[in-house]
Structures are given as C-alpha cells and as structure tokens.
C-alpha cells in the first residue's frame, strides 16, 4: 500500500517536472517573440529621408512612451527596397500605399496592414491627382513632361496613366515621364517648371496649392496609406498590442502631430484592396526621359 502511494507520488512528480520544463520552453518561446523591443520601421519614401522621419517622430515617441519600444528608421529610397526588407525580415513595419502593399502581399504572405491613416476629410481613403502650375498651359503639340513618384507608388505610373488617359485624353507612353522618387519631388519639380504635370497624392498636392499649383484630375477613392507589419518578425500579441495602441491614440494627442499622423488611424479594410486590379507587368520601372 505504502509502495503504491510512493509510486503514484513519483509518477506525479515526474509529470510535474515535465510540465514545468514544457511551461518553461513555452515561456521562453513567447518571451523571445514578445521581447522584441526595437521595431525596424521603413517610412514611405515620400520626401527626403529626414523629412520623412520628421513626420513620424511624434508617433514613434508615443509608441516608445506607451509600449516601451524603440523605433528605428530603415530609410529606403524606393518601394522595391522596402519589399525586399520585408522578405528578408530586416523590416518589421512599413508605411505603405495600397499599390506597394498589394505588390508586397503578392510576394510575401507575412505582410499585414494593421492601421490605415485618415485623410484631411476624416476618411481613410485618398485620391491620386494630377497637378500643374496654374499659369502653365499644356501644349499638346509638344511632348508633355510628366513627373511621377515611383514605379510601385499608387499615384505613380499606375494611377497617373489612368488619370491622364481618362481625364485629359493623354497617352502617357507617347509623352515624356520620369520618376522623381516622391510625391513632393514630383510637385516641386513641376512647380519649378521642369515638368508640365505632376502625379501625386491628393493631400500632398493640396499643400502645394498655396504655391499656385492646381489639381487638374482626381482619381476615385483608393484604400488609404497603412502601417503594414511583418508577421514573420513580430508576435501576434505584439501586433495586436501595437494595433490596439495605435487605434486608441486620443484625438487630443494626434491632433498636435504633423502630416499624415495628425488625423488619426482606422482599422484597414481588406476589401478595398481587392478593388484594385493591377497588372504589375505593365508598369515600367524606369522613365523615358
């Protein structure tokens, strides 16, 4: 009887010790995933590197303060590099427009949007526009010079081509076009007179109205710019926590921030991305000027 009791106790002891080892392994695994206290963030290559970083400084300070995580900037010159960084796990989070997201998603299953930034009108959608300097006239007898952002930018070749064709009856392939690498650059170069038309995001183009730029064509509403996380490098818990924190930023806080972050965020709507039918093979990766 006594022997039986000892045997049972020994079995229970063994089970307990195995359980403890298992729990330890799970805990270590979870800790390893959750322990990521530095996020490698690639902002959109909209402007110059510094300006881009400046725009996200308040948001990142907020994350540091509330989640005790540091955000390190991985500045990439173009979308292709951001997508590459996602694939090789050197980027945890990126700020992307819809087209680059779709391009990324097509080749990397770990990309997942967690928040979409609201626009000035309070909605998350935005539009791509064509803009020109008010006093300039488009001389159709000459080659029209078009300033584009980047090949994988939504407002780049993809939407500018559609808008030129649909609104101005201009075939882009018969005109001169060049990638200026950012929305701002496209607008500035047009303002300076180097180009006749700039393709850019509506909100950015709007800022340049104070410099005599005017919008001459607008696209339909497009899914907004989002923060896309790398599910390969971040744990579901951290992603969840990040999303919750971002969505819970109070108005009184984000209204003090500048640029895209100053209007708050909403949950992304995956269906909106499905509306975009893009044949990436038709997008040239280099300009013709």
């Amino acid at each position: 009887m006594l022997f039986t009791l000892f045997t049972i106790n020994a079995v229970f002891d063994r089970i307990d010790s195995m359980k403890r080892i298992y729990l330890f392994i799970v805990a270590v695994s979870l800790y390893t995933l959750q322990a990521k206290d530095t996020l490698y963030f690639a902002p959109l290559p909209l402007n110059k590197g510094v300006q881009n970083i400046e725009e996200f400084l308040p948001l990142n300070s907020y994350l540091k303060k509330n989640l005790q995580i540091n955000v390190k900037y991985i500045y990439k010159q173009d979308y292709a590099d951001i997508i590459k960084g996602f694939k090789n796990s050197s980027i945890d989070i990126a700020y992307l427009g819809p087209l680059p997201y779709i391009y990324l998603k097509n080749s990397c299953k770990h990309a997942m949007p967690i928040v979409t930034f609201k626009q000035a009108n309070g909605k998350s959608n935005y539009q791509c526009v064509l803009s020109k300097f008010k006093e300039d006239t488009i001389d159709r007898s000459q080659t029209i010079k078009i300033a584009l952002t980047q090949p994988l930018s939504t407002c780049g070749y993809y939407m500018s081509n559609i808008l030129l064709k649909n609104s101005l009856d201009i075939n882009i392939s018969q005109q001169g076009y060049k990638y200026t690498m950012s929305h701002t650059n496209a607008l500035i170069k047009t303002l300076e007179g180097e180009f006749d038309i700039a393709g850019a995001k509506d909100t950015i183009a709007k800022q340049y109205e104070s410099l005599g730029m005017e919008v001459i064509a607008k696209s339909n509403a497009l899914p907004g710019f989002s923060l896309v996380v790398n599910t390969k490098t971040l744990s579901p818990e951290q992603i969840n926590q990040l999303q919750k924190t971002l969505l819970a930023i109070p108005y009184s806080t984000y209204k003090l921030w500048g640029g895209i972050t100053s209007r708050g965020m909403v949950k992304p709507s995956p269906k909106e991305y499905e509306q975009l039918k893009v044949d990436f093979s038709t997008i040239p990766f280099y300009g013709n000027m």
């Binding site: 970083i53 008010k134 340049y208 104070s210 410099l211 005599g212 730029m213 003090l256 640029g259």
Partner: protein, 638 residues
C-alpha cells in the same frame, strides 16, 4: 631636542603646505591659461564664421533687391487676393529656387520671405508651409518689419532655430516685408571643424529658444540634452550632427562624465556665460568648451559645446606631478637632514658638554685661540682670572698674551719683534723655555708651562699648566747652584752663565762694565790662627759688609777661597775709584767678631767692548797682583 624636532617638522609641514598650495594654484593658472586661449580661439572662429555668412547674406540680399521681377511680385503680393497670393508665391519660388539651391550649397538652410505683418510668405525649405505668424515669437521679424532695420543673430523658430540674417525689403520706398537667410548649426559645425578640428561640436538649446517656440507637431524634433535638463538638442533621428556625436564613443564618455558630475556643470551653466571644463579620463586630457550663444535680444539662448582633446592638460599634470615629487623628495631630504643635523648637534652638544666638563675638570687652563682672539676657555681660566664668562674677559683683552708678565725669566711679548706671531714663536721654543707668567686673582705671580697644539686651521689649543710651585723649587735650586754655599754670593757658575747678558746690560746707554778682583789680605794667617771655621765666618761677615756698602747693581761673586770678583756698572773710571775706595774703607773699618780688622786688595779693569771677558779678568788679576805687591789694602785699576 624633541621640542626642536617637533617644531622643525611643523615648520616643514607649513612650508610644504604653502609650496603645495602655490604649485596647485600655478597649475590651475596654467590650465586656465590654456583653457582660455583655446576658448578664445573657438569664439574668434565662431564669430569669424558668422561674419562670413553675414557678408554672404548681405550679398544675397543685394542680389534680391536687384531682381525687379521678384520685387514686383512681392509688391503685388501685398495687395493680392488669397488665390492670387498662392500664384505669386509659386512664381517667386520658380524665380528663386535656383538661387536657393546655390545658397544651400553654401550651407544656408533657410531662405524665408515674410509679409509686412510678420507672417510667413514663402519658406524655401518648406514651401508648402506658409501663412503662420512669426511676429510674436521672432524678435528679428519684429525688428525687420516694424523698425525696418536689418538684424542678425541666433534665434529659435517654428521649425528650427538658426543663425539668422533678416533684412527688411524696401522697394521704391515701400515696405514689402522681410527676408531671412538662416544658417543651420550643421553649417557652423562644419566650418568650425574645418578651422579647429575637434572631437565634435554640438548645439544645446535653452528650452525657451527651442522647444517652446516650434510648431506643436515639431516638438519631437528636439530631445532633452544629457548635459542639462534645461537644454535641448536636435533629435539625432533628424540631425546628422547629433547623430554623429551620439555615435562618437569619446563624446558619449564625456557626456556620461558630465551627467554623473552635475555638481561641476550646474553652477557654471547657470551663469549663462562661456566656460570650459578640462577633464582627465582614462589618462587622456579633454576639454569641453561651452560657448555662450545670445539671441537677437542679446539673451542667452544656447551653448555651442565643443569637445576636444587637451593633451596639454596631461603635460601640465605631469609637470606638476614631477614638481610635487621633487618637492616631496626635497622636503623628505630636508626633514632627513634636519633629523641628522639635530642628532649631530645633539651629539655635539653632548660631546661639548662632556668636553667642557672634562676641560673644566682639568688642572690646566685650556683655551682655544687663533693667537689673537680667544674663542673658548675652560672653567679654570675663569677661576684664574676671577671672571664669569669669556665675554667678560674679552671686554678688556683680546689676547691672553696681553696677560703675560714681562719678566725675563719667562716668555713675554717684549721678547718678540712682532708680538702677533707669539704663538708661532713659542711653538719654536723648547719646552723648558715655553713658560709664561701671569698674575692671577690672588695677585700672585703664576708661572705656566704653555703647550700649543693645532685644533684646526688657525685655531690652537693652548694649555697652560701651572708650574708655579715647580718653578719656585727650580728657581731655588738654580739659585742654589749659582750661589756660593758659604757666603750666599754668586759663584763662578753664575758668572759663566750670565756674563754675556751682564756685558750687554751693563754697557748699554754709555755705561761701562768694570770687573774687580777682591782678595782678603793675609787670609791664610786668619785660617792658620783661628781655624777654618773662623775663616769662614770672616768670609761671611766680609760679604755682608760688601753688600751693605754696595750699590744695587753691583754684583759680587765668590771666585774661589778668599778671592771675589765684583762687577760694576760705571760712568767713568773716577766714579769706579770712588765706589771702590768707599768699599775698601768700609771693610777696613769693619770690626770682625774674632779677628777684628782685616783689609782687602782690589784689582780692577774696565771691559773693552768686544774683547773676551777672560782678557778683562786677566787685566783685573794683574791689577790685583800689583795691589798686593805694592803693600795691600789698596785699589789698582788697569
């Protein structure tokens, strides 16, 4: 001894403290001199750089004023509607962006037009941001647009602080607003590094001039400085200068040092004046300069912090360490010497006391003297002269030789041609002649055998051994050997020993020496009649009679038997004859106890200078023979 030792140690300690303080102060002054020089260099460089930019800004301003298209647009802008303003802004941008690009290449960060009301008209560095009012937060905008004066200086802003050059735009007499050219600190830092290469330069901004002025959404452009909570730096995420410094391990080390030594910096930073911190870390010298930056209102707004190597600090430290080591060694040696000297002095003092005691115990008088001056004397000396100290003696006398009695039996200064050489002279004498006589406190004449030995160069030990008793005995003995035992007159021995000196003495100053031989007439008959005892008594009575009737200087010598020699000092032969006659009569008249009357015959001669005394005696003897031969009881002088 112990007291002296403690006192010496204390004085040495005080001296060491004073010297260490002096060294410490000198070191501080040296460091300060280098520090100030280095600080001045940075200040001058900084001012020169700003002045260069000032000239450049003025030149750009002149170009701008010459650009009529821009001026006309600005004039239109003043009165245009909002939509017209946007277009004009764009046109201005289109006209000037190339100029702006050139300016950027020359490190001008901001090219900014303002309306006459002090609102932003066009920021070339952020062209889409305009319309915000700057009048309240920017003194330079107020001065340029209200006072219509150009102004320059450091100033915070809604985006970045900068070193600003703001000019009012006056075109055809009309005020069209103002324009500013701003230099970012990056440009200053770049130029400073060209002129004075260092570990790094950083701008730390007062909160009022940075954080409090910028757009709310730009507040994250600044972070708190590690150096002080009251100062901000540009966020390293957007500032290459900050990032560069944060990646510099030496600067990080220095910042950490400052952060952990707030007491050093707080008191200085509160002064809002330029200052420097020389620091030694891991045996390497560093200098951190804080150059006060004033804004356009001449209020402190920032510091340029310059981190540089400062090897001179190590050199200075090393130099003063060597000084301190040398000083410590010197102090130790002095202390050691003091201890040794003290011990030696103590030993010497002890030995001196012992010696003094020993010398005082001596029967002899012992003195140390150079011959002229006495430097030391023992107790016997004091006792002999009845004085208490040497000084008492030295008040009256310099030399002990002054106390020597002038007696020819002893050595005295009168015997020397140069009395100064008395010590040498006495040393050359045989011991039997090294005898001096001195009068003691008992007013008795004391004779001393003087022995002299060298103590040290020109100092002699003079030992006076009192031989008065021996001398008396000796003199008595001598007297005895020189006297006739029966009559107590001098004897032949006396004559032999003294005749030389007598000749000298008696022939001085024109005198003459006369030598007489006196013989008792028929003395044999006396002996034969009365016996030798009576004969001896007769001789005694005769000598007594002669002595009574002789002069003091007349010398009577028993020559043998009843024969005597008498030596006279005379002026002339006649005088001699008188003296002798007087003497002859005295003898003749004297009644001798047993024999009653006797007579004497006298034969005399006068000593001829340089003749042998034997010849004089011979002549006297001849004279005596004649006196006898011619009847006796008479005087013959030859």
């Amino acid at each position: 001894m112990k007291k002296q030792f403690i006192l010496s140690a204390f004085l040495l300690f005080v001296l060491a403290y004073i010297v260490y303080e002096f060294l410490h102060k000198s070191k501080r002054n040296d460091v300060m001199r280098f520090t100030n020089k280095s600080l001045q260099m940075i200040k001058i460089s900084y001012i020169s750089i700003l002045n260069t930019y000032k000239i450049s800004a003025q030149k750009d301003m002149n170009h701008l004023l010459e650009n009529k298209d821009v001026m006309e647009l600005l004039k239109k802008f003043k009165y245009a509607s909002q939509s017209e303003k946007n277009l004009i802004r764009g046109k201005i941008y289109r006209l000037l962006y190339k100029q702006y690009n050139t300016m950027r290449n020359l490190n001008i960060r901001q090219f900014h037009f303002h309306t006459p009301e002090g609102k932003s008209l066009l920021r070339f560095h952020k062209p889409h941001r305009s319309g915000d009012s700057l009048m309240d937060i920017r003194e330079s905008i107020r001065v340029a647009n209200i006072l219509k004066e150009k102004i320059s200086g450091f100033e915070g802003g809604k985006v970045y602080p900068g070193f600003r050059y703001v000019f009012p735009i006056l075109y055809q007499g009309e005020h069209l607003g103002s324009v500013e050219f701003s230099i970012a600190f990056e440009s200053i830092e770049k130029e400073l590094n060209n002129v004075l290469p260092s570990l790094g330069y950083q701008l730390i901004l007062s909160k009022r001039e940075s954080y409090n002025k910028v757009f709310d959404w730009h507040k994250d452009y600044f972070i708190k400085s590690i150096i002080s909570q009251e100062y901000y730096i540009e966020n390293p995420e957007i500032s290459l200068v900050t990032k560069k410094l944060q990646n510099n391990p030496t600067v990080k080390k220095l910042e950490e040092y400052i952060r952990t030594h707030t007491d050093i910096i707080n008191s200085k930073i509160e002064t809002k004046q330029s200052f420097s911190l020389p620091i030694v870390l891991d045996h390497i010298g560093y200098m951190i300069h804080f150059i006060d930056i004033k804004n356009t209102k001449n209020i402190h707004s920032a510091y340029i912090v310059a981190y540089s190597n400062f090897n001179e600090l190590i050199d200075i430290n090393r130099k003063y360490t060597i000084f301190c080591i040398l000083l410590s060694t010197a102090i130790f040696l002095i202390f050691f010497l003091i201890v040794i000297v003290s011990r030696q002095l103590h030993t010497l003092s002890f030995q001196k006391e012992n010696l003094q005691h020993l010398l005082d115990e001596q029967e002899n008088i012992v003195i140390l003297s150079s011959g002229e001056l006495i430097t030391y004397a023992n107790q016997k000396f004091f006792d002999f002269f009845n004085i208490k100290s040497l000084n008492e003696f030295l008040v009256e006398y310099k030399c002990v030789c002054e106390k020597f009695i002038e007696d020819d039996r002893f050595f005295h200064l009168g015997k020397l041609e140069d009395p100064k050489d008395w010590v040498q002279a006495i040393r050359l004498l045989p011991k039997s002649k090294s005898i001096v006589a001195m009068m003691g406190e008992d007013l008795q004449l004391h004779s001393f055998s003087l022995s002299i030995s060298i103590y040290e160069h020109n100092i002699y030990i003079l030992s006076f051994s009192d031989i008065s008793a021996t001398m008396i005995e000796q003199m008595k003995l001598r007297e005895k050997t020189l006297h006739d035992t029966l009559t107590n007159t001098y004897n032949r021995e006396y004559f032999e020993q003294n005749i030389k000196q007598i000749k000298i003495d008696y022939t001085k100053t024109g005198n003459q020496l006369a030598l007489c031989m006196l013989d008792i007439d028929f003395f044999k008959k006396v002996n034969d009649t009365y016996g030798h005892d009576i004969g001896d008594k007769v001789l005694i009575e005769l000598v007594d009679t002669i002595n009574r009737f002789s002069r003091k200087e007349d010398i009577l010598i028993r020559w043998g038997g009843e024969e005597f020699i008498m030596i006279f000092k005379i002026h002339s032969q006649e005088a001699l004859a008188l003296v002798l006659e007087n003497l002859r009569q005295a003898i003749e008249k004297h009644l001798f106890k047993r024999v009653k009357n006797i007579t004497c015959s006298l034969g005399c001669s006068i000593y001829i200078p340089n003749e042998a005394i034997e010849n004089t005696i011979k002549r006297a003897d001849e004279a005596l023979y004649r006196a006898k031969d011619s009847g006796r009881n008479r005087i013959i002088i030859l």
